[in-house]
């Protein structure tokens, strides 16, 4: 069933038990992103220290894809260098626009490769990208400081 290529087990797990979903009170940048077409909203905090992503925490409402994807992104970014983190965002974006032709690099994206199937459902790509774009925005705002 096509549905299974969208809703991988990993995704449903992250959806049920999202990681880092509780805003920390200290952060170097906080952003609020919305997906206007469906109403999903997310607030995301990033703490950068010495070129390293020290912490990511978030809060928000949304579908399984957006929630799971943010959970995966947050967990992936923590501990990475800013450069590695931003390049992971680029990899993930490329995967999302692959129209089902790419599998994603597990070295870089870890659990993120579970979202490869989303790229075949154009209406859901925005959902999968929400958390990653929020992270990118927050990270760049932090360095801008």
């Amino acid at each position: 069933m096509e549905l299974d290529s969208l809703y991988q087990e990993v995704i449903l797990d992250h959806y049920k038990n999202p990681l880092h979903k509780k805003l920390k009170s200290s952060y170097s940048a906080q952003v609020h992103h919305v997906n206007p077409s469906c109403g999903d909203e997310i607030t995301l905090n990033v703490t950068l220290e010495g070129g390293l992503v020290k912490d990511v925490s978030w809060e928000g409402v949304g579908c399984s894809i957006s929630q799971a994807s943010t959970s995966v992104a947050a967990d992936l970014m923590i501990g990475k260098t800013l450069e590695q983190a931003l390049s992971a965002v680029e990899s993930f974006s490329a995967l999302m626009s692959s129209k089902g032709t790419a599998a994603g690099d597990e070295e870089i994206l870890e659990d993120g490769v579970a979202f490869a199937g989303v790229s075949k459902f154009p209406a859901r790509i925005k959902c999968a990208l929400l958390g990653w774009m929020a992270f990118k925005d927050a990270a760049l705002q932090s360095t801008g400081k």
């Binding site: 096509e2 449903l12 959902c127």
Partner: protein
Amino acid sequence: MMRSNFSPAEIREDFAIFAKTMRGGNRLVYLDSGATSQKPRQVLDAERNFYENSNAAVHRGAHLLAEEANAAYEGAREILAGFLNAEVNEIVFTKSATESINALAYSFGNSAPGSKFALAPGDRIVVSLLEHHANLIPWQQLAKRTGAELRWFGITPEGRIDESNIDELINDRTKIVAITHQSNVLGTIVPLSNIVAKAHKVGAVVVLDACQSAPHFAIDVKKLDIDFLAFSGHKALGPTGIGILWGRENLLNAMEPFLTGGSMIETVTMTDAKWAAAPKRFEAGVPNMAQAVGLAAAIKYLENLGMDKVAEHEAQLTAYALDKFSNLRGVEVVGPKESKDRGSVISFTMAGIHPHDVGQVLDQYGVAVRTGHHCAWPLMKELGLVGTTRASFYIYNDEADVDVLIESIERAQKYFKV
């Protein structure tokens, strides 16, 4: 010729799209007519016939094609006037209800200070919490531009208009009351007589958003005693790119125009222009002729079925569906739960599954519904929801469609293990 009994199966034969195979090899169960309806071949044929036999710019040529185009276009206006029990010169063709409502808001905004339509600081525009963005943001922005105040009717727990403070809301400074006829989210039908009476008593005009009503039950603008009305053709079996703005003739002719350009003028100099009478005043440029002709064919199709039959069919289907919904565990209908004074739009939420995920599973079974905030974000916030899943019915739907919907909802619950 009236069809003697109402047969969705027979109706579906006029709609080629129902022959399409959907995801998972399923048939199309189209429950998204609240967003846009499907189109029967009669409508597509009428458009094509216009292009292939009478295509020319109306109002602009003395040649035979222009004459024929004009007859087709003005003939469409007559059919729309009949549909609403309006006068022919009161029917303005726009591109959509969104344009119709914006046209009014801008026309009011263009009025000379002191005119009947001009708004000043302290004046008031009244809407409701049920509004679609299209009948909210134009007024909100008009209020900002003019310094007028925007106020709104609240809702009862059941999702009906709360009229308890109507006397406070609609006061002597109220110039415009803009309200939906039927909520596109909850299905609530708004009772108009009190609101219209109160508005007229204080000298305000009533603008009705009939997007979710005109396609579904008979409307008589004279009986409703309203002043302006808007709806979109694409939700009423018609083509995309055509909407209706109806207004009382004396009001339209006293208003400033909205779009300016060709065919809406009396005279023009470099620095000044005088306006033609309605409806031309509000139809600048070469109009969406084929779409007007297509919409007229859609209206004829509906009238051939009989608007009362259409309403009755939808009411039965809605009652059937509401009954089925009441037996589903973990599923909550948002809005009126019995079929009195409600249309055929059913919004619901599911415990533990986000609407977007519900929609996705339903799609796998060929069921097309809409999910999200339905362009009624303030209503969603009021209800404390991020969104709903919405099924909306029309003439081509039947009980079998409802059954597939209900089964698919249960499958979604199984899929998401809730």
